[in-house]
Each structure stands twice: as C-alpha cells, then as structure tokens.
Subunit: 378 residues, 2 copies
Amino acid sequence: MTPSLLTLDTPAALIDETRMTRNIQLMQARMDALGVRLRPHVKTSKSEAVMRRQLDAGAEGVTVSTLQEAEACFALGITDVLYAVAIAPARLEQVRALRRRGCRLGILTDSLAGARAIVEAGQRHAEAFDVWLEIDCDGHRAGLQPDDPKLLQIAEVLRAGGMTLVGVLTHAGSSYELHEAAALQALAEQERALCVAAAEQLRAQGFACPQVSIGSTPTALSARDLTGVTEVRAGVYVFQDLVMLNVGICRADDLALSVLTTVIGHQPEKGWVLVDAGWMALSRDRGTQRQHRDFGYGQVCDLDGTWLEGALLSGANQEHGMISFAGGAPADLEQRFPVGSRLRVLPNHACATGGQFDHYHAVDATGALTAWSRLHGR
Amino acid sequence: MTPSLLTLDTPAALIDETRMTRNIQLMQARMDALGVRLRPHVKTSKSEAVMRRQLDAGAEGVTVSTLQEAEACFALGITDVLYAVAIAPARLEQVRALRRRGCRLGILTDSLAGARAIVEAGQRHAEAFDVWLEIDCDGHRAGLQPDDPKLLQIAEVLRAGGMTLVGVLTHAGSSYELHEAAALQALAEQERALCVAAAEQLRAQGFACPQVSIGSTPTALSARDLTGVTEVRAGVYVFQDLVMLNVGICRADDLALSVLTTVIGHQPEKGWVLVDAGWMALSRDRGTQRQHRDFGYGQVCDLDGTWLEGALLSGANQEHGMISFAGGAPADLEQRFPVGSRLRVLPNHACATGGQFDHYHAVDATGALTAWSRLHGR
C-alpha cells in the first residue's frame, strides 16, 4: 500500500518539499546577491536528501555540530566540513583520522588551552589542523572579543605549532530574541563588523586569516551588506519554524516541517482534543514562550496544512498532546475532530523537533510521500 | 581500551546502577507491602537491562506508551503488556497481530468512538481485545469521570461486541505539581478512591471489571492504603530526577541518571563554563521551572557525582551548555574546570533526557561501565 497522510504511522515528521525548496532558493539567492558562500548548518535536518538539495542549489560545504555528523557527511562524499563547536581535546584523534581519510575538516577554538591541545595533537601526528578562531559578537555564548589580546596569543600558539589558521567565525545567536527588522539589520551588521574586525586584527599582526564566517538564520536573512565576509552559516532557514515566524524573517506558509498526529480522545468540558503527539514528537522546546506570541508546543493545522487559528498544542506529555482553543472550543468538538482523524502541528523549533525523529516523510507538490532518513548517530 | 568516565565519548547518559537498584527495590517493597502488583512504565528507560532488573525484583508485566515499545518488549519475551495511551483505531491491526503472536496486550479507551472502533476491528478479525477504560482522577489529561454515564455505555458497547473489559485505569499526573507529603497522600487516596469507585459503578451494573490500575511515581511512593487496587504503574522512580526531588519523594542521592559532559571553553567575565551537553543531550525539559527550586537545564556535579552547590546548566543550545554559578563563579574558573575536564549533569526529567540517547552507560559499584542499549524505535 502506498503510504499516505491517512495511513502513515503517527506521530510522523512531515517536510513540505515545495516550501523547503523555496526556503533553500531564497537563502541561496540572498547569499549569491551578497557575494558570499553559503555553508548550511546541517544540524537542523541531519538528512542527506535535504543536504543534497542545499548543495545542488549552490551551497559550498557544510557546518556540523558533532563529529558524528561530520563522519556521516564525509561518508556521503561531502569533504568540506566545518565542526562549529569548540573542540574538546579528546576529539582530536577522531578529527585527525577523518582528515587522513580525505575530509577537509575544520575545527574551532577560543582558548589558549584549546590551541595548545590542538598543537600538541597536531605535532604528535604530524597533522596541520585547519583551525578557526571563535569570535563573540553578541555575548550570547562562546568566543573571544575581537580586541581580546588572547586572540593574537592563540593565533601565535597555532602558528608556532605549525597549525593552519583558516579564519575567524562567529554566530549571532541572540538574533533569535529579536523581532524588528531594524534591530535584526543592526545585529547583522554588528555580526559582520566584529568578525571582520577580528580578522583585521589578525592580519595586522601578519596572520593570513583568509576566511571570515558568520551567520544565523535571522541575521543572514536581514543583512544588507557582507563586505569582508567570505561565508555564511545558517541552519533553521531550511525548514523555518514558529520561533522564526515570531522573529519576523519568514511567513506562516514558509514553515516546511510539521508533525502529523492522530486524535485519540477529547475532554469536551475542558474544550480539549487529545492527540498522539506529545513532547517525544514535538520536543520540549518552548522557544515561543518568551516571544510576543506564545504558541505553546505548536500551532495546530488541518491535515492539509490549513492553520487553525487559535488552536494550539497547549500541553504535552510523553506521548499525549492536549489541543486547546483560544476563545473557546467548537461546540461540535468531537464531530469536528473525531477519534482517528488527523491533524498537523507546526513546531516552535524545527531543529529540536527534527531531533526527535529517526526519519522524515517528504510531501511533494503532488502529495506523494517519500521517507528521508536522518543521519546515523547523534 | 576499557571505557572509563575519562574516555567515553560525550555527552553520554550514565546510570548509577547502585542508585537505580535501590530505587527499584524501594518501590517494589512498597507495592509488596501494600499488596498490589507493580507494572513499571518502561517509557522512562526503554532499556532491556533496566526492565529485567525491575521484573527480577518482582514487577509483573510492563506498561508502554507506544506500540513500538510493545513490539520491543514482546520481542524480549515479555508477554504481559499494557499500552496505556488511548488507542487510535488505525493501530488495532497491529495490536491484533501482536496478540496473535502471543502477546497479552491490553489497550485503553475513554470514548464511545474508541469502543466502537475496537468492537468493529475485533469482530472483523474474531479477536476479543483486552480493553481497559481510562478514568480521570485529577483533571490533568484524559479519561472519564467515575460517574460519567458514558462509562457504562462504553462498557456495554464492549460487552455487546464481545470484547473483554479487563479493568479501569487512571494516572494522577497532577502529582508532579505537588511538593508536600500531606497533599501527595491526599492525591494518592483520591487516585485510588476514584478509580475504585469507577470499578464499583461497573460491577454494580454487572460488569466483572476485575482489575484496577492506578499510578504515578509521586502517588505510588505516597500512598498509605491501596484497598481495591490490583496494580500500580510508575515509571520515573527507576531513575528519579530533579522534578521528583522537588516533589519531595526522593533524595538527591537517589538520582540515578546523569549526563557526562566535557568542558569546551569559558567566558570568565560572565562566570560561565561551556560544555558539550546542550538540549540535544539534556532535552529541552524545564520541568523545575515552575517548582519551588529551578534547576535550569540541570544540576552540575563533579565527575564523581558530587553535587556542586549553585552550579547549574543555566543555558542550552543544541550541542552547547552554559554552566553558571549562583553567588558568583570561582575566581579560578579556568583552572577549576579546565578545557577537556569532565562533569556530570543531573536532569530535570529522566524520561525526556533518556529519550535523547540511543544507549546508556551503566556505572556499577566498582566504577566499571557497561553499555545498555535502548529499545529500537520510538
């Protein structure tokens, strides 16, 4: 039997292929217009089918958040891989092995301790690692300030140790907290300017530092000018989600990932519909909780994807979801959403929801379904 | 090389076997003393090694939250399985197939629509399904009030259709919101009394209704008397977690699940230690957020499990965790927690954190590690 949205086991992660393709083309076109390479962050989809479409559209190389992702990408023939989490010394042996097999795997550090560990491992194995230095452009996570003297000290440790300083890298993760175009444009410019400034600091001291890598989906889609930047990394743009809708950098009909679910019961007095998608499907991500519109655990849509205004997955247990209705449930709740009928839920955060599944089902423009596996491992 | 906590790839899910064994023995002893069977909910661990220890200690049968769990348990030779989520009609074919292969699989409903679908599928395949009726004892999720006339109507539909009414079932999930012993004892009694009342309603109308199944970890550990109850279901007790600590039904040294993580950097000005355990490891569960003590994404411990008072995983990105220190970070932050050193994080919610991993590493009393896989599938 050909699977359909009516027969697929639920909960299932659906990808609207038309929307995803549009998201990929839009981001690629913007990066092309700004004159930079796009290096998609594949932690969002962790899917070969999705990555292939990104690369076919013009992306160059991939960004990963674990070495398992790097291994899986390399196994698929993708050789240009940037591991954009500060390297733990114990991982250098695995990095070296991947590089020996032909993977151009770049690694990241923002500390003298990290640089020294890289040099030690590199010298022990006669391996000149490709190293990026992490810059902090908005105070939200890791990285060095562009004017931190440690930046030059780390570069010097790497140079003296025979390692290759590829470039500087930053991520304006605080962009997720914004929702106004002007603020997003300002943060995009800050991300660009501070990362370029770090590269200039290094170049002024005689370090080549050829690459400048920046990126987050909101800043990438808000930037007006990327002078001095060589590549942009972004991940969630490929699916978009409710957090990004609240940020204001996509429209409701750009959201490509949804969770297919089945109605399993009702609490008519409470106005609840119970479904078989809980947090094991949607994840516990409540990324819209602190935004201007809180979508609970997700926005509920009809089977065909039509947004049901006011219908939210307001509660989630492991395999139960509770749908409630702002302004009151329909009087014919049990007839409108009978036991066994199906709905879709748009997630807060596509990366987190995708992470709950082993595979996706892509829905093409004709409605045909294709299973797309996720990469093996974390 | 024998794996150790210093060489294991991180993040990793560790089980302290001594604590887990104590948790299993304590719950079993309480159920034995109260004269009821214990049917553990295996959605918490989804691990054969853990289930075996529960069954070896005296548990009878298992509770599952998906049919994939039921399939996996049956494949391991566990034949007494209760699927404690209201059945979606499309799943009845899979239920029937499992039963035909010898699995005593019980199913649940709380609606006339569900009962009619069960009867229809049962009659089509000459299968007398074992059906439980779900009772709502605290308004938190699914189920019928004990005095809802639909209870008898559903029982009548099942009887007329030749199905087997096994019993009534409830789950006092609101117990997670409590934290005082008296309130927990009262809710445990409410859970017992209302579920027994539902059974009595049915028996008064001539339905046998032999079984009365209740349970949640907090009520199971708080109940003083379980007269009329035949079995108790509980899940998270096997690992316990910070939510349960806040509820007050375990001690800090009962928490058996933790996430091993590696330090990857620092932000000394902010007093942060950065680690490689983010929400992909801990999950996005913030279950302690609304409790009297908020642990962020988890309580940080030294490698040996010693609780570092005031050290919380206060922020989590996909593969990054930010540790901060209440009352200020140690002055020697980078020396105290050097890059490459390891810590453990106790999770808010063991079910959600376990769900982020493919396997566990059990640590026995001697410190030896054993990999324990999780069940295949969801």
